[in-house]
Amino acid sequence: MTWLAPAIQDLLIEALWQTLAMVGASAAIAAILGLPIALLLHVTSPEGLTPKPWLNRPVGLLVNAARSTPFIILMVAIVPFTRLVAGTSIGTGAAIVPLALAATAFLARLFENALREVDKGVIEAARAMGATRLQIVWKVLVPEALPGLVAATTVSLVSLVGFSAMAGAVGGGGLGDLGIRFGYQRFMPEVMATVVVILILLVQGLQSLGDWLTRRLSHR
């Protein structure tokens, strides 16, 4: 990266770490929170193991509300909540809160779709064999959906890389923020180009890794 001044190089490396931290942490939180929500939505749906419309509808509505709010607005709207959780509303740590929230809603839907893809026949077979509902969820539904769950996580990681670029609005840093501040506002096209190339490589890498893992897990 000799075309960049050493000071910019350091900034770039710092920004890369910030992006990785924001994407990694929020994806991890989203996966941990998203799976139970997706399972809840799936099993309480009309065709689910225990249909419960009174629970399914409000949760579904909440997920949709979070998903339909533009990220930049969501980020600002939940500042009080962010302050409560992160202790501050500024910085990389604070940016993780809205990112994780948006990703949780996004991933919950994608996970739900992956669960819905599981062959109903396998579930029926498990019921016929005397499996409990809990066994059906953990020994049939989740294992059978695993390749789909991994593919969904890949999609959300890629989206998070995009969302994280907006985190500059709350001082979250990261590659997107660097690109805007130096590449755009200070007219340094070489910085902008480098940021874009790194982002492309990052997304490609994540996608390839996700695809490889999905293939490995699937035995179709």
Binding site: A128, G130, H219
Partner: protein
């Protein structure tokens, strides 16, 4: 119906009713059936006849709206969830589309019912070592379902259904996704396992050939009702209901090919030609029916085709006859044949 079975029925269904959508048609409309221990009982019907719902009522994958379900002496509808799960372990089930776990190997699929029953690993392995050879799958134990043929997948399905030592095996269109040769293999396997493991088998199918190949008794369903039932031999040789006749015709009937029909001589003036299929079974099969009819009623009979078949070792003959003569004489001759216990069905040209 069960006059020869002093044992209590393995499966007794009575007065079953089921309607899926309010105001919709009845999937089951007052169905009463009983399956004796050790027999292979077939339920045949077109899709939508209600047979799939019926077989699901046995292990309560579907709950009937009304009626009683007794399996191995237990009133299934009175069981709580835990007792129902225990009862289901005594009822194996095999499915049309196999319903195997795609991410489990053959051995892991077969071990699944043992795993959920909390059986220790060592005992599971022992069980697998006994059950996999029964279905001829030892060599494939570490393969994934996607690497198997349809017949092999169904063998896995059967092994899995038998892993928990059930007394009853339910087969839901178990051979409908298989080619004819594989179908025969799987049917032979089911028949063989019935004998070895003292199983009672209830199967549903839309193929009369399956019933002919392995069933002892059969029930024919249409629009949620059992329209006819009895020993397979009797239902095949003396079908009473028109739907049953159509089913039977698929297997033993032969409509005469149009080219053959075109070559049959036309009736003379004042005479008519009628084409009938005659099924001979029982004592009348040894009488010279055709020549007697021809002589005594003054009609001409042309044997278009004929063959001998058997069901469960009992022989019967099927013939296609073209009869010529005055209408009332033909009618009288057919009535006489029927009085001998032969089954006559008009063949629509």
């Amino acid at each position: 119906m069960d006059r020869h079975t002093p044992l209590p029925a393995a499966i007794a269904l009575s007065g079953l009713r089921k309607r899926f959508a309010a105001g919709g048609t009845l999937a089951l409309d007052d169905v009463t059936l009983s399956v004796a221990p050790g027999e292979i009982f077939g339920i045949v019907g077109r899709s939508g006849a209600g047979k799939s719902t019926l077989i699901r009522c046995v292990n309560l994958l579907e709950r009937p709206d009304a009626g009683a379900v007794q399996v191995l002496g237990q009133d299934m509808l009175a069981l709580d969830e835990a007792a129902l799960r225990a009862a289901r372990r005594r009822i194996g089930m095999v499915f049309q589309h196999f319903n195997l776990h795609t991410r489990r190997t053959v051995a892991e699929n077969v071990a699944f019912p043992l795993e959920i029953a909390g059986i220790p690993r060592a005992a599971q392995r022992e069980k697998l070592a006994r059950i996999l050879p029964l279905v001829g799958l030892e060599a494939k134990r570490d393969a994934y379902p996607a690497q198997l043929s349809g017949g092999q997948k169904q063998r896995v399905g059967i092994a899995r259904a038998l892993a928990s030592d059930p007394e009853i095996l339910l087969c839901d269109e178990a051979t409908s996704a298989l080619d004819p040769e594989t179908t025969q293999e799987i049917l032979a396997l089911i028949r063989d396992l019935r004998g070895r493991l003292d199983l009672t088998v209830l199967l549903i199918t839309h193929e009369m050939g399956v019933v002919k190949a392995i069933c002892d008794r059969v029930a024919v369903m249409e629009a949620g009702r059992v329209i006819e039932h009895g020993r397979v031999f009797e239902v095949f040789t003396q079908p009473a209901h028109p739907t049953t006749r159509r089913f039977v015709a698929e297997v033993i009937g032969h409509s005469v090919p149009p080219s053959t029909l075109a070559r049959l001589p036309a009736p003379r003036a004042g005479e008519v030609r009628r084409l009938v299929q005659v099924v001979f079974a029982g004592p009348a099969s040894t009488r010279a029916v055709v020549s007697e009819a021809s002589r005594d009623f003054g009609i001409d009979i042309n044997i278009v085709s004929g063959r001998v078949d058997e069901i469960a070792g009992e022989p019967f003959g099927v013939m296609a006859l073209a009869a010529y003569g005055a209408p009332e004489r033909l009618e009288a001759a057919f009535a006489w044949m029927r009085s001998l216990g032969l089954t006559l069905t008009e063949i629509e040209p």
